[in-house]
């Protein structure tokens, strides 16, 4: 086997390993997009139920009307979920799809927090969602999610604090406290994402090593057969 033969064969093996790694990663990204598509639908139904249970009716004089929260859950919820669902169906695995999903997921947290009157317990949805986003193993989506939730808390905390904190006069820096805990959580999650991708790459490289070993053994045995062919089988008596 000449050096150029060896280089060509080695490059082919490395290329196949790279393709396997990319295919594995694409499969994870696409399947996670589809997973979030179902979550978007589920959250929409859940938000409508919350709105119906929590504040189904309002009274204006003697007239009972459906509370604005129900319409918010139905229409704003549909608006929030429609783009991520469309992208997950039409462009699964695309980088924009997962960033749109990350942003929408945080806006869903905002919506649910609003519908429950700023209940602190509903803020757990933010942290749960960050955990779900790790399924992508793509850490930049966590940055998108963090920015969206921080900006949401800043703006809503400023113009409508009751909607996000459940009180009318929070400290001006309250959004920073919430953002700090999110930043605290994503540091660990980013490390998990990076390690996970490294493991996937290592898996592909292990495959390449085994392939190289087999290819090398096969090539050497082929050379030996040419140099020293096996003796002819004795004729049957």
């Amino acid at each position: 086997m000449t050096a150029s033969d060896l280089d060509a064969a080695a490059n082919a093996i490395v290329q196949r390993a790279t393709q396997r790694f990319r295919a594995h990663r694409d499969q994870i990204l696409s399947s996670t997009d589809r997973l979030f598509m179902w979550l978007m639908l589920g959250q929409w139904v859940f938000a409508i139920l919350i709105a119906l249970v929590y504040s189904p009716y309002a009274w204006e004089g003697k007239v009972k009307t459906v509370h604005a929260h129900v319409y918010t859950a139905v229409f704003l919820g549909a608006a929030l979920s429609s783009l991520p669902i469309a992208l997950a169906l039409l462009r699964p695995g695309w980088v924009v799809t997962r960033h749109v999903i990350a942003a929408a997921q945080m806006l869903w947290s905002a919506m649910l927090i609003h519908l429950t009157g700023g209940r602190i317990e509903t803020h757990f949805h933010v942290f749960g969602s960050l955990g779900f986003l790790v399924a992508y193993r793509d850490w930049p989506v966590l940055i998108t999610a963090t920015l969206v939730v921080a900006i949401d808390h800043l703006i809503r905390g400023w113009i409508w604090p009751e909607s996000v904190y459940g009180i009318t006069n929070p400290e001006w820096w309250r959004f920073l406290e919430h953002a700090f805990w999110v930043a605290f959580a994503i540091q660990f999650l980013i490390i998990v994402c990076i390690r996970s991708v490294k493991d996937m790459r290592m898996l592909a490289e292990k495959g390449a090593e085994l392939e190289a070993l087999s290819e090398g053994e096969w090539r050497r045995s082929s050379v030996l057969e040419r140099v020293d062919p096996a003796p002819a089988r004795p004729a049957a008596v």
């Binding site: 060896l6 080695a10 490059n11 490395v14 085994l210 090398g216």
Partner: protein
């Protein structure tokens, strides 16, 4: 130094020897070997120039890689 004779047993390696062109053997730890670019590892494996060890015990390449 003994060569393992248990085919298929997951052993794994902790050290490798690379035979240079002049016959000298250069030793690397497992992590040093894994930090080599994958293309270089593939070339070395294809060239059959690697010896795998677990402690003092020499392993076959297949045994070493399957157990790694």
């Amino acid at each position: 130094m003994t060569r393992s004779s248990t085919p298929g047993s997951p052993a794994g390696y902790d050290r490798i020897g690379i035979a240079d062109a002049d016959g000298a053997i250069r030793y690397l730890s497992k992590s040093e070997f894994e930090n080599l670019p994958v293309a270089e590892r593939v070339r070395l494996l294809m060239g059959g120039k690697l010896q795998f060890f677990q402690g003092d015990r020499q392993l076959t390449a297949r045994e070493a890689l399957k157990g790694a």
